[in-house]
């Protein structure tokens, strides 16, 4: 599956043919009222359509997708901001399943070492169906901490930590537990609430007042890397333009989100310590909005470099590239790769004290609301560049390896930083085309890019 193909350089998949005429008027629709709206409104040639108007571009939310995607006809040029069944990647229990299956396959095909590269996800068990497997693992590792997370909720809701089986017993006996014993068998995937990140209501099952919830029990990373005594996680943005073939872009900017309180394993009940999600931090009594508790990822990269040296940092970021690619590869065969779809994922990564990155989760609808001026700029640029890559205006040739702050990370095979077709047989000098946490001189790059595109267009033939 991850066989290397010889790369006579392939385009990154913009459709060829008559639809490539540059469009001058693009009708867009969205329900989000934050940075996205600002970006869309300011984009030249883009007009908003409301209600029932016809649109060329829709940044939709997942509930609309669930209800309407299957019976919406879209012209070839139309683009929509989610894949139909993205929850295969973004819902924790599905992601675990897919990753486990992928890992087994890798082990069969390429051996244990290759499969071990998928060990970036802390051991996770679905509850309640894998309860017994979980107990077995639990007994093998007495004294470690586990974290229980609801599968379909976001912003840190419903999460708790535990060390004793007794804690789960109590939880099982609680209201949620009761509901689950009635509806023991896992609902059919088609009916399940597929929201990755922000829905809380299930409209499928009107009979129940309290939504049916699944949880996962995950091994808690007890030795997170601390800065200033605080725990943090990294938010990284990955743009997937298609799954078959797999084409993914990595954004250079991102941020580290800090917990407001000092990390200690003694305070398991202290929600605020362990969850670095900004939404949770906002309700912490220590929270001061001015602080923002975020570091741009460039600052984080520099800090690490001054402490551990550039080689260690490069290794860490290479391992993170590995997480992005493998996680996408694991769902490549199950996600319906509709050419109208693209998706901007927010990856949450936790780094431990050995500088090993762990995948916490993938968000299909990463927050686009800005928490500070710096955050606003980051998200604005991120969205602008996303729209550049989606290229409704049909300006790109399809051979670009970099658009603004996005670097083409995977194009049906690894993408090298070097120019031109690369000889992948040796793999010795291969450096992937990712620049997470590096200088993001996107304005300059975009200016050069569009200027050269204009020149190319004017050239005869």
């Amino acid at each position: 599956m991850s066989r290397q193909k010889n790369q006579s350089f392939k385009g990154h998949g913009l459709s060829k043919g008559k639809e490539r005429e540059p469009r001058t008027l693009i009708r867009f629709k969205t329900t989000l009222m934050n940075t996205l709206m600002d970006v869309l409104r300011h984009r030249p040639g883009w007009v908003e359509v409301k209600d029932e108007g016809e649109w060329d571009f829709y940044w939709c939310d997942v509930s609309w997708l669930r209800e309407n995607f299957d019976h919406t006809y879209m012209d070839e040029h139309v683009r929509i901001s989610h894949f139909r069944n993205h929850y295969e990647l973004t819902r924790k229990n599905y992601m675990v399943k897919n990753l486990k299956r992928f890992r087994k396959q890798l082990e069969r095909e390429a051996g244990k070492v290759e499969a071990a590269k998928c060990d970036f996800f802390p051991k996770t068990f679905e509850m309640p169906c894998e309860y017994h497997l979980f107990v077995e693992e639990f007994r093998k590792n007495p004294g470690i901490t586990w974290i229980m997370k609801p599968v379909a909720r976001s912003q840190g809701k419903g999460i708790f930590l535990f060390r004793r089986l007794k804690d789960i017993m109590d939880w099982r006996k609680g209201t949620v537990g009761k509901k689950l014993t009635i509806v023991e068998a896992q609902p059919n995937r088609a009916n399940v609430n597929p929201s990755g990140s922000h829905d809380t209501k299930s409209s499928d099952d009107q009979k129940e007042e309290i939504p049916v919830e699944n949880y996962v029990a995950q091994r808690y990373v007890e030795n997170p890397y601390l800065i200033g005594g605080r725990k943090f996680d990294l938010r990284v943005y990955v743009l997937v333009m298609s799954y078959i073939p797999l084409r993914a872009w990595l954004y250079r900017d991102g941020f580290a989100r800090f917990s407001n309180t000092r990390f200690t394993l003694n305070s398991i009940d202290d929600h605020y310590v362990h969850l670095t999600n900004v939404a949770v931090q906002k309700t912490s009594p220590d929270y001061h909005p001015k602080k923002g508790c975020k570091w741009m990822i460039q600052r984080f990269r520099q800090y690490l470099a001054s402490k551990h040296g550039p080689e260690a940092v490069e290794r860490l970021f290479r391992d993170m590239d590995n997480i992005f690619i493998r996680s996408l590869q694991s769902v490549q065969k199950v996600i319906i790769s509709d050419k109208h779809c693209f998706e901007l994922y927010g990856y949450d990564i936790l780094v431990d004290q050995d500088l090993k990155p762990w995948l916490l989760e993938v968000n299909a609808s990463p927050s686009l609301t800005a928490s500070s001026q710096e955050d606003y700029e980051l998200k604005t640029c991120l969205l602008e560049d996303t729209l550049h890559v989606v290229d409704m205006e049909a300006r790109l040739t399809g051979r670009e390896k970099r658009v603004g702050g996005f670097d083409l990370m995977w194009n049906d095979g690894p993408v090298s930083r070097e120019e031109g077709p690369s000889d992948l047989s040796g793999m010795g000098n291969f450096v992937t085309n990712t620049h997470l946490g590096c200088v993001n001189d996107r304005k300059e790059q975009l200016r050069q890019l569009f200027r050269s595109l204009q020149v190319q267009k004017k050239a005869p033939g």
Binding site: G228, F258, K294, Q302, S306, K307
Partner: protein, 526 residues
């Protein structure tokens, strides 16, 4: 000839005197005794053999570094009959001004004390001591009620004092001429002009490689960066302070910076140093000082609100609280125009036997003081190391930024240098700003007092501080301030009020320090 020789021997005597009391001397003595066992040491040539041994084993290098450090920090002895005040500050009117400024600060501190009925110092009850010890690594979580405390002074208060400085022996007449200085500082100190600065900062020239310029993404690393890193590693292996200081003028690679700074400042964390820090910590636990609240307040107001430094809040308390108890800092008052404030045990006012320095280190923090420490947290992670580095940086450089003196790196000279550069090389801008009531120094003063900490992006700040260490001078702060104005001159020419000028210069976080300096010094037509 004779004068120079006697000067030199005076310097040597002074340094020997200083070093005799240091740890290094004790270690060298021990080493000398221990090496007598070695076969290569022969009785006939004892002195030479021991010297040879020191050379090979690296002890000579350590001694060299210590001597170099002393030369850097302590001013050379002046005329033998000059009183010690001359070492602090040779000009009488400056000393007087500093004295009255100190009186004001102390008065402010004492009145706050009386108003709030809080003692300057008190012993903590055992329960409180235990609590503090438990919370030592997370003092930032404490939220004491600091609403009644005010910073003792802010940079702008200090600026007013400097503006009113006058040399009573200097009469420049009422008539304006082209030589009249149009800025706020009206004392006749000698400052460098651009040709002199070019000579002084020759390594920042256009033809010399720099980190901060020649390591940018467009430049292939083979051209400069790789070689520079290699040399840096070599310097570290050699453990030579002087070489490190020369090297760092071209900037320090990120991975080597912590070690290079420690080498230049001649800091090596010996067990005695760690023990000393622990003793200071014990001091903090046992006694509560009024200045502690001032420190808390400052950290909460400045560093905690900074987008990047908030993470290091806890370290700042651990450093600053200990710093205020460190009596070894009193040593720097020998060459600082300031003097430590004196306080008297209750009821014994005026009796010298009952006088104590308050705070114990003689330094009263002002608004923004914690920003001197914050950038260092990026480099040093053990509290005792962070502490040592900060203390050395303070007694070498930072103290000059808030005491009144005629030293070329003192804040008065820096202000004058800044204004002179602006008036001489950007006269139109300077005149325009003056006309609209926006004297440039009013905007740039706070940058210089804080050595730009909190105004520049951290990586840029560290590149700037590399050069402060490399040139052993703070003049570069004034040059950078002028370069910033030059960079934003076009926008500044269009403003019509002080507020608008402040707005144009409010955000320096995107500036790249080294290109600005290079252009201003080496690429501007003079």
């Amino acid at each position: 000839m004779l004068q120079e020789e006697s000067d030199l021997s005076l310097v040597i005597a002074q340094i020997v005197q200083k070093l005799k009391g240091s740890n290094l001397y004790a270690q060298l003595e021990r080493q000398a005794w221990a090496c007598l066992q070695r076969p290569e040491i022969r009785l006939e040539s004892l002195k030479e053999d021991i010297k040879e041994f020191f050379k090979i084993s690296g002890w000579e290098k350590k001694l060299q570094n210590a001597v170099y450090s002393e030369l850097n920090v302590y001013p050379l002895p002046s005329h033998p009959s000059a009183p010690p005040e001359h070492l602090k500050e040779p000009l009488v009117y400056m000393r007087k001004a500093q004295g009255s400024w100190e009186k004001r600060i102390l008065k402010s501190l004492n009145s706050m004390c009386t108003e709030l009925s809080i003692p300057l110092a008190r012993k903590r009850p055992v329960g409180e001591q235990k609590e503090l010890l438990n919370k030592w690594n997370e003092m930032g979580t404490d939220e004491p009620d600091l609403s009644l405390f005010r910073p003792v002074y802010a940079p702008k208060d200090f600026l007013e004092v400097l503006i009113n400085l006058r040399n009573p022996n200097y009469e420049n007449g009422d008539s304006l001429s082209f030589r009249t200085h149009l800025g706020l500082i009206q004392v006749p100190l000698k400052v460098k002009d651009i040709p002199e600065l070019k000579e002084c900062f020759v390594e920042l020239g256009l033809t010399t490689g720099q980190l901060g310029i020649d390591d940018s993404t467009q430049v292939p690393p083979e051209l400069f960066e790789n070689e520079h890193v290699r040399i840096g590693q070599k310097v570290l292996v050699q453990q030579d302070s002087a070489a490190a200081q020369q090297y760092i003028r071209q900037g320090s690679p990120t991975a080597l910076r912590a070690e290079l700074w420690a080498l230049i400042l001649n800091i090596s964390s010996q067990p005695e140093d760690i023990l000393y820090y622990e003793q200071l910590k014990t001091n903090v636990i046992q006694h509560d000082l009024l200045v502690d609240s001032l420190i808390y307040k400052d950290v909460k107001l400045t560093a905690s609100n900074d987008d990047y430094y908030f993470v290091f809040e806890d370290y700042l308390y651990q450093v600053l609280l200990c710093f205020s108890r460190d009596t070894s800092v009193l040593g720097h008052f020998a060459y600082n125009s300031a003097s430590p404030p004196k306080s008297y045990i209750r009821g014994k006012l005026g009796l010298e036997e009952y006088a104590v320095f308050y705070p114990p280190n003689g330094v009263i923090p002002f608004h923004g003081f914690s920003m001197y420490v914050a950038p260092l947290c990026f480099l040093y992670h053990e509290p005792y190391k962070l502490y040592q580095i900060f203390r050395e940086m303070y007694v070498r450089f930072f103290f000059r930024l808030h005491s009144i003196s005629s030293h070329p790196s003192g804040i008065v000279s820096l202000c004058l240098l800044f204004e002179t550069l602006l008036q001489t090389y950007l006269p139109q801008l300077f005149y325009h700003l003056r006309e609209i009531g926006a004297q440039p120094l009013r905007i740039s003063f706070k940058w210089m007092v804080r050595a730009f900490s909190g105004y520049l992006a951290t990586d840029q700040l560290l590149l700037l501080w590399d050069r402060i260490l490399g040139y052993n001078s703070l003049e570069i702060l004034a040059v950078l301030a002028a370069a910033v104005f030059a960079f934003r001159a076009v926008n500044l020419m269009e403003v019509t009020s002080l507020a608008a000028a402040e707005a144009v210069l409010a955000d320096l976080s995107t500036l790249k320090v080294m290109p600005l300096l290079q252009i201003f010094l080496f690429a501007t037509v003079t």
